[in-house]
């Protein structure tokens, strides 16, 4: 294993004043990776990325070099690079900072990716709420065109490469790559049937690669500094640095860059340790859709393989940290509400299952749960997981399943007391479905008030 702990790689220009301006960026090695890539054969770039072992940073961890090599080169159709900047997973905010602080890095990455697969154009699909990142990127793209890094004659090579910034309209599902493509084409953002895969029929039916911001931003570094440099961090199967969004009950939540292989406990320390008087109870290693892990697993090295071994997923690299003063039921209810709300509605298990899970968890959290609800939750998760059209539903059931596995007692306690043991006021005013359109929909009425049981909240369960 390489060095661990905090590193400065992809984020090394974050604190350079004015680096979002192309002149400052150029002074800090800017566009050197693109220049190098231009001198290389496309296949060599892909090979280099393969050797680096870079794995996709958007959640699934698929080897990026392999993904680039899948792009069909012989269809006679134009080839596109699409950057998935629809960063919407709860707990994840690494891409936003990268685009805000160092937008040229992403543009350079898009150029390298384009060169690697002979693309004619790139599209950045940006989460619509990222207004500042959008302004930064738009300005940077304009500058890159002015300087000839983009456009009809990329860096004097005679090659054309255009870059388009597209702002999404606030749907989590559009982070799913085929829904993203549909949305980009102006359709309703819902996942597509696969096959055909984007590598053969993606954007506008043409070969396309869809990659996360961080994966694309890493390409110029790999091209410029080489495989050795990249592999100085991390493990054989999980090499490289990783941008981490660390959030929750730590002293300094925020973005950190660490070497893969750093343990979760170390990362909590890097983020300033747990808040005063709180002890780690559980954490989500890669955003809310990755199964939560209890405190005992905090010494797991943060690699794809070790986290998987521990029973979860690396996801987007969003470490969410929760203490013994937090109700796991409330957390899971909130997560579920998010996925229920963001389900695109296309397939039954996700649409209806999410709606049902949300109602049950709300009941348990607000004191009207039944013991049989726990088995029902587990069974519903079984009926959702792996049965839905895309991975959103699998992400939806992850927190429910994992919390039931590790903290079933706490659920029981909620149900037994009829109130949250954490002193959370039961909220009976939340309509289960809160969105209405065209006057046709009538929200559900508040649940029937129920006598609260007299036993007071005692401040929490020890975990």
């Amino acid at each position: 294993m390489g060095t661990t702990g905090q590193v400065s790689a992809l984020s090394y220009r974050y604190d350079v004043p004015g680096v979002s301006d192309i002149e400052v960026y150029e002074q800090h090695d800017g566009y050197e990776g693109a220049r190098r890539a231009l001198e290389m054969e496309p296949a060599d770039i892909v090979e280099l990325v393969k050797e680096s072992g870079l794995r996709g940073r958007g959640g699934a961890g698929f080897p990026t070099g392999m993904k680039l090599s899948f792009v069909a080169q012989d269809t006679g159709k134009p080839i596109y690079v699409v950057c998935n900047a629809d960063e919407g997973e709860p707990g994840t905010f690494k891409d936003r900072l990268l685009m805000e602080r160092d937008p040229h890095q992403l543009i350079e990455g898009m150029i390298v990716a384009g060169l690697a697969i002979n693309a004619v154009a790139g599209y950045i699909y940006l989460r619509g709420e990222f207004a500042y990142a959008g302004r930064q990127l738009a300005a940077a793209i304009r500058q890159a065109y002015e300087r000839g890094y983009l456009g009809a004659d990329v860096m004097g090579s005679g090659r054309r490469y255009d870059l388009v910034l597209h702002r999404g309209a606030g749907a989590y599902i559009c982070g799913e790559e085929t829904a993203l493509l549909d949305s980009l084409e102006g359709r309703r953002g819902q996942p597509r049937l696969r096959p055909p895969f984007p590598a053969t029929q993606g954007l506008y039916g043409c070969p396309t690669t869809v990659n996360n911001v961080e994966s694309i931003a890493a390409l110029p570094f790999i091209v410029r500094h080489g495989v050795e440099w990249w592999r100085q961090w991390g493990t054989e199967k999980s090499p490289g640095p990783k941008l981490m969004s660390i959030s929750g009950e730590v002293n300094r939540p925020g973005n950190y860059e660490v070497a893969l292989g750093t343990t979760v406990r170390e990362m909590i320390e890097i983020a300033g340790g747990m808040l005063e008087g709180r002890e780690l109870k559980f954490f989500c290693p890669g955003g809310s859709s990755t199964p939560m892990l209890p405190a005992e697993k905090a010494d797991t090295p943060y690699t794809f393989e070790d986290i998987q071994e521990a029973g979860s997923l690396l996801g987007t690299g969003a470490l969410m940290v929760y203490s013994d003063q937090t109700s796991v039921v409330s957390v899971v209810r909130r997560f579920t509400h998010f996925y229920e709300h963001e389900s695109c509605g296309k397939c039954t298990p996700c649409r209806e299952g999410g709606y049902w899970l949300g109602q049950i968890l709300t009941r348990i959290d607000t004191g009207t749960g039944r013991m049989e609800d726990l088995e029902l939750l587990e069974d519903l998760c079984d009926n959702i997981f792996g049965r839905a059209f895309c991975a959103l539903a699998d992400g939806m059931v992850s927190p429910v399943r994992s919390s039931l596995a590790y903290f079933r007692d706490e659920y029981v306690e909620h149900i037994r007391r009829g109130v949250s043991p954490f002193g959370v006021e039961p909220r009976r005013d939340i309509a289960v479905v809160e969105f209405t359109r065209g006057g046709g929909y009538e929200p559900a009425p508040p649940a029937t008030p129920q006598e609260l049981q007299t036993e007071p909240a005692d401040g929490g369960l020890s975990s």
Binding site: S343, R351, E352, L380, N383, G386, G439
Partner: protein, 809 residues
């Protein structure tokens, strides 16, 4: 041959072509995997997740509706796999948590896939104790279609149908998650000629029809197979009646013709049978009024009129049949005219056709013409003088299918594109009625430029193009189209609009034409028919134009109209009305009190409608289909052929049959000519270009084109259906509009030879300059009032008002 894949489903081995979906392969074995979103004619979507199966080596269940077959794999359905069974039950439970338990009052109850599957695979008790989704109900998607959103399982069948099949994507999924719902755009209503299909394919009771809602239960109705009589498409229908009243009509699957679809006119267009305008009893004219009479009285009246006309000399009786008749009626009418009345003055067309068309019609019969399947396969499809969506809607869907499936290049030959504007690849512009010349040029060797050159090039490239010729294509078009198709080993078809037109041609219902593609002036043909009918008229008779002209001049005493409203439908309303007024005895046998009946008929004979009788009908392909009696008509109506048998009898003749079986047996015996007459050569029938109407510069040529939903007799009473009719407009080119200072929406008076229409203007770049397009029969007066006595349509345009929007509304 396609690569074959062998594998097993529930232990049974099966071999199917590579690329087959598992759900289809299972069907071949008789294993029905439960499904909601899957529809064999729609693209797979995988939305409902009901059809899970277990596939060997795969940890998760797979969807049978989106997964193609894999060699040597063992597939296990819910019948043999616990994984699949559990998954399916889970999905079914999910679908039911938000579904209301209102089956007892839901129209779909009794024929509902969700109900059936809940019964077969579902649990008796629900584990769901929480709050179901609630919506306002119902929401009107259109005047014909209501939506109960809480029943919807969001299978996207309706939205996919609209997008993929009919191409009217104004019905869509909105919102997301549990609030995903079918809706229409606020400012764009769901306007489609095919909207009824979404009701039929809805797997729950979410989409219901206003006309059928709460009227009957599927297990309460009597179901009868039928064939639609609204156009020449020949769609197979299911008629469902209860206590002798039609409750609804559904598309009946017939992959060769209408697949699983039909148009709204065919689906909802049956209230005319019970409308107030329906003729239910025989009537005789008494001054301005028509008074009820007995069958005996009307038959006697006919006998005296016919006898008197015969005594007055030859050529004083004529028969015009229109084209709604069943094949049996057409045969009976053909024989009745020749063998009973002794006249060849007969026509089934409501247009003024050139004399040479007789030879073309004779040549069609017995010849292999293009079919729906040919259209579906063709790489290039040439359409001349025909607007399929307005005239033969199911043909439009097939054209669209070819366009969508393999980018078939659709070429329109004529003065405008009409509803093919969205699909057409090239438009070869011609003056109205001169389509034949262009078709001939395309088939010839001469150099062509512009669109015509590209089309000729495309026709040379593809195998088996299809050329479709409609009724407006002008003299010689059928021959020219046949020559064009033959040059590419393709197919040709004459596509008339009305349901009985092809059958009428087969029966010889035109002057000089005899049954089976025979000709009156061919000695062998005459002999073949005389063997069955006795002596035939010696000379070829008159066609519609000559009949009306002579009638208007007082040279015809008896005009027998069978299912035709000449006062509205003749090309020249003025000539037709003058003729009808002049003729001593106008005998009309029809379904409804048409303008002809009300204004001109002296003897009215009540006829049975399609659903009230059995019969045979031939569609534009030449495909014969039988239909059965679904309901009893009014007590005193008779089938058209029966009426003719009785008239013949009172005139002292025996038509030779007294029941349908005997009639059909005679049709079989008469048969077709052994070898069809050759079609005329192009040189014989195609007029030279440039000899058309002389142009004095001030007027425009008018193209009268029917709209699907108009003032037609068989649409009376279908209120909800007619609410979806397209508005009557005058379409003109932007250049002509500018020349006349007309803007879109302006009210324009189109003044013709004998009348005028005032219509809002639509600017259409596809319309040939100097030409305007108006609907045939969508205005108070038909477009026929614009014509002169030869049916020529020219007019002058005058802007009446530029504030059209309010006036029209």
């Amino acid at each position: 041959m396609t690569e074959q894949v062998t594998f097993t489903i529930d232990g049974q081995e099966i071999t199917v072509p590579k690329g087959t979906l598992i759900i289809r392969a299972a069907e071949e074995l008789g294993i029905i995997v439960p499904r909601f979103c899957d529809h064999p004619l729609l693209d797979p979507v995988g939305a409902c997740r009901q059809c899970m199966v277990e596939i060997e080596g795969m940890p998760k269940p797979m969807m049978a509706c989106t997964t193609t077959v894999m060699p040597d794999k063992a597939v296990k359905t819910h019948l043999t796999s616990e994984l699949a069974r559990k998954g399916q039950e889970g999905t079914l439970e999910f679908l039911l948590i938000n579904h209301p338990l209102d089956c007892p009052m839901c129209d779909k109850g009794g024929e509902c896939p969700l109900q059936d599957q809940a019964l077969a695979h579902g649990s008796n008790a629900s584990r769901f104790i929480d709050q179901k989704r609630r919506y306002d109900k119902p929401v009107a998607v259109s005047q014909q279609i209501l939506l109960d959103r809480e029943r919807c399982v969001l299978c996207a069948r309706c939205t996919r149908f609209s997008e993929q099949i009919s191409g009217d994507p104004f019905i869509e999924l909105f919102e997301r998650g549990a609030l995903e719902q079918v809706a229409i755009y606020e400012d764009e209503p769901y306007e489609s000629y095919f909207s009824g299909n979404v009701i039929q394919i809805c797997p729950v009771g979410a989409l219901t029809s206003t006309s059928y809602r709460f009227r009957a239960r599927p297990f309460d109705v009597v179901t009868t197979p039928s064939v639609c009589d609204h156009c020449s498409a020949g769609c197979t229908l299911t008629v469902q009646s209860r206590r002798g009243e039609i409750q609804r009509q559904l598309a009946r699957t017939n992959m060769a013709v209408n697949e699983a679809w039909n148009c709204d006119k065919g689906r909802f267009g049956f209230p005319h049978l019970t409308a107030a305008t329906r003729i239910t009893e025989p009537k005789l004219r008494d001054g301005d009024a028509l008074v009820t009479a007995s069958w005996t009285d009307v038959l006697r009246r006919i006998r005296s009129a016919v006898t008197a006309a015969r005594e007055a000399g030859p050529g004083r009786i004529a028969v015009v049949t229109g084209s709604r008749l069943a094949d049996e009626d057409a045969y009976a009418a053909s024989k009745y005219a020749r063998a009973v009345l002794g006249t060849d003055d007969v026509d089934h067309r409501t247009r003024f056709a050139p004399a040479s068309e007789r030879d073309e019609l004779a040549g069609i019969v017995g010849r292999d013409t293009a079919t729906y399947a040919d259209v579906e396969r063709a790489g290039v499809i040439v359409v001349a003088g025909l607007d399929p969506e307005e005239e033969v809607p199911i043909l439009h869907l097939r054209l669209r299918k070819a366009w969508r499936n393999h980018q078939a290049r659709i070429v329109v030959v004529g003065p405008h594109l009409g509803t093919l504007a969205d699909l057409a690849w090239r438009h070869v512009v011609t003056a109205p009625g001169t389509e034949a010349a262009v078709l001939a040029q395309l088939a010839g060797d001469g150099p062509l430029d512009g669109s015509a050159g590209e089309v000729a090039e495309a026709l040379r490239e593809v195998d088996a193009p299809v050329v479709l010729v409609g009724e407006r294509a002008g003299a010689g078009s059928i021959s020219a189209a046949a020559a064009l198709a033959a040059a590419g080993d393709g197919g040709v078809a004459y596509v008339p609009r009305r349901a009985g037109a092809r059958g009428a041609i087969e029966a010889g219902l035109a002057a000089g034409l005899l049954p089976g593609g025979r000709r009156l002036d061919d000695a062998d043909d005459r002999a073949a028919i005389e063997e069955h009918w006795g002596a035939l008229p010696a000379e070829r008779g008159r066609d519609l134009h000559a009949i009306l002209t002579d009638a208007a001049a007082g040279r015809i005493d008896v005009l027998h109209l069978i299912g035709v409203d000449l006062a509205r439908d003749a090309p020249s309303a003025e000539l037709a009305r003058a003729a009808l007024a002049k003729v001593g005895t106008v005998i009309v046998q029809d379904l409804a009190r048409t303008e002809t009946v009300a204004g001109f008929a002296d003897v009215v004979l009540p006829a049975a409608g399609r659903q009230e009788r059995a019969g045979t009908t031939t569609n534009w392909e030449g495909r014969r289909q039988r239909f059965a009696r679904a309901i009893d008509g009014p007590d005193l109506v008779q089938e058209d052929w029966e009426i003719l048998v009785q008239i013949a009898a009172i005139l002292g003749k025996d038509l030779g049959f007294s029941d349908l079986a005997a009639l059909r047996a005679e049709v079989e015996r008469v048969g077709r000519r052994a070898t069809p007459h050759p079609l005329p050569t192009v040189d014989e029938v195609v007029p030279a270009v440039g000899t058309a109407a002389d142009d004095d510069g001030a007027g425009v040529t008018v193209v009268a084109r029917p709209l699907l939903l108009d003032h037609g007799t068989m649409l009376t009473g279908a209120t909800d259906l007619l609410a979806t009719a397209r508005p009557a407009t005058v379409a003109l080119s932007p250049a002509d509009a500018a020349a006349h200072d007309i803007a879109a929406g302006d009210l324009v008076e189109v003044a013709g030879a004998n009348g005028s229409l005032t219509l809002p203007a639509v600017l259409a770049p596809d319309v040939l300059s100097g030409t305007v397009v108006v609907p045939t029969n969508s205005t108070d007066e038909p477009a026929g009032v614009l014509a002169d006595r030869d049916g020529r349509l020219t007019a002058t345009l005058t802007k009446v008002s530029s504030d059209a929007a309010e006036e029209v509304a």
